[in-house]
Symmetry: C2
């Protein structure tokens, strides 16, 4: 957070200056010289919906999501899967300092990302402390998210899970990149696009498809949300939704 003030508005390397997420993510914290260096080792890559970007246990990549949605998941031998994170534009992919990924990364929508050369990135990490700081900050944020989800998976009921998911998604969507949005600065009546399928919601929330579907209709019948269709909903009663999510505050 303190670094953001060091941000410099002078001319930028061509590729980055036109980038949609330039002011966010890692890039936002970098000085021109660092950004220039980063640009030198990056290239855009595209993925189709459903395509696997990284497989659990195989070498990680380093990349920024430019557009599209992805999920990170972990699997058990018998096929059960748990989604451990959703990735949005400006999110960073890749486990710095680890030689194999602990998750499978899969594109949900069509995805564009800005991929970095591994060696080059680790080299930059050493020589640009501000980048290292930024990567650490991102890692801490991911950790915090993971732990919040542990609380959800270990303690919350099905309905609380679904409600929490919708609120988090709304927050992330309202956010739209400019990080650190006020916790409860959500306006009632907000239209929400759910970018993942019911099956993926189930894998994310530790439930079955059927239970997700049932709890969604329950929230609708209780007047907390309204449906346009299965994938796009409107938050009607925000206060009640927060209460249904279980944490009372901070959502």
């Amino acid at each position: 957070m303190s670094i953001q003030s060091a941000f410099n508005l002078a001319p930028l390397p061509s590729a980055c200056s036109r980038c949609a997420i330039r002011s966010q993510s890692l890039c936002g914290a970098l000085t021109d010289v660092a950004l220039s260096a980063l640009n030198g080792i990056s290239r855009h890559r595209h993925f189709a919906p459903g395509q696997i970007v990284v497989t659990e246990g195989e070498p990680a990549i380093f990349a920024n999501v430019v557009s599209g949605i992805l999920v990170e998941k972990k699997g058990l031998a018998d096929g059960r899967e748990q989604i451990v994170a959703m990735l949005f534009p400006a999110d960073f992919i890749g486990d710095a300092q680890r030689d194999s990924s602990d998750t499978t990364v899969q594109a949900v929508t069509a995805v564009t990302m800005c991929a970095f050369d591994r060696q080059g990135f680790e080299h930059l990490l050493v020589h640009h402390p501000v980048l290292a700081h930024c990567v650490l900050d991102h890692a801490m944020a991911r950790l915090e998210n993971a732990r919040e989800w542990m609380l959800l998976l270990g303690q919350k009921s099905a309905e609380e899970r679904v409600a929490t998911f919708l609120l988090r998604l709304a927050l992330r969507q309202a956010d739209a990149g400019c990080r650190h949005v006020a916790p409860d600065m959500l306006e009632p009546g907000l239209e929400l696009e759910i970018p993942i399928s019911r099956a993926q919601m189930a894998a994310y929330l530790g439930l079955t498809i059927e239970t997700v579907s049932r709890r969604m209709t329950a929230l609708r019948d209780a007047g907390l949300v309204a449906f346009r269709d299965a994938r796009s909903i409107r938050l009607v009663n925000l206060e009640a939704l927060r209460k249904a999510a279980g944490d009372q505050d901070r959502n």
Copy 2:
């Protein structure tokens, strides 16, 4: 991991040179000059069993665990709690770059830790890249643990959870600090001390005390483990225990 090779065996600052966990944790990666600087801003603190070290939402501290066991937990408004991590000697406490802790840290046994001045630590972080690298590495390890636990909480049955817990604990115990032990290098017949109560196991595994107890006796009756008493068990059939844990490999 590559940094470890930069480790220097020359004379050390007095306090650190006598420290039980000197060669591990953050300290192990540091050069003498950095370690000396770290030593300058650290002092030992003691906590009694059950004592709260940090409260969720309040300012974090920075410290290394020297001896004893602690848990990190997150709570819901109505009192439900989820333990998100167990802390062992050599573990690092504190969310670098965040101004409030996202977890409550509580001593389980009597605890000694080596606490660092916050300002001083962040200052060191900037001026000693090797320390920053080390903190990032630690954060990534914590993230990986959190995600493995998400898989457990979201997908595994009660028995799988308990079996996984015992195996992880055994690994950590055999480990005893010298990190990166071979995954399945556990010898059958290993005596295991469970440092936490059934209630804490329940809060860690997302179960109730009763279910933990029942699954423990089930594992005993099935001959996978043997009890000395509730808190100290022996791993009898390691292969079956791994299978019961559900991941098949990597444990």
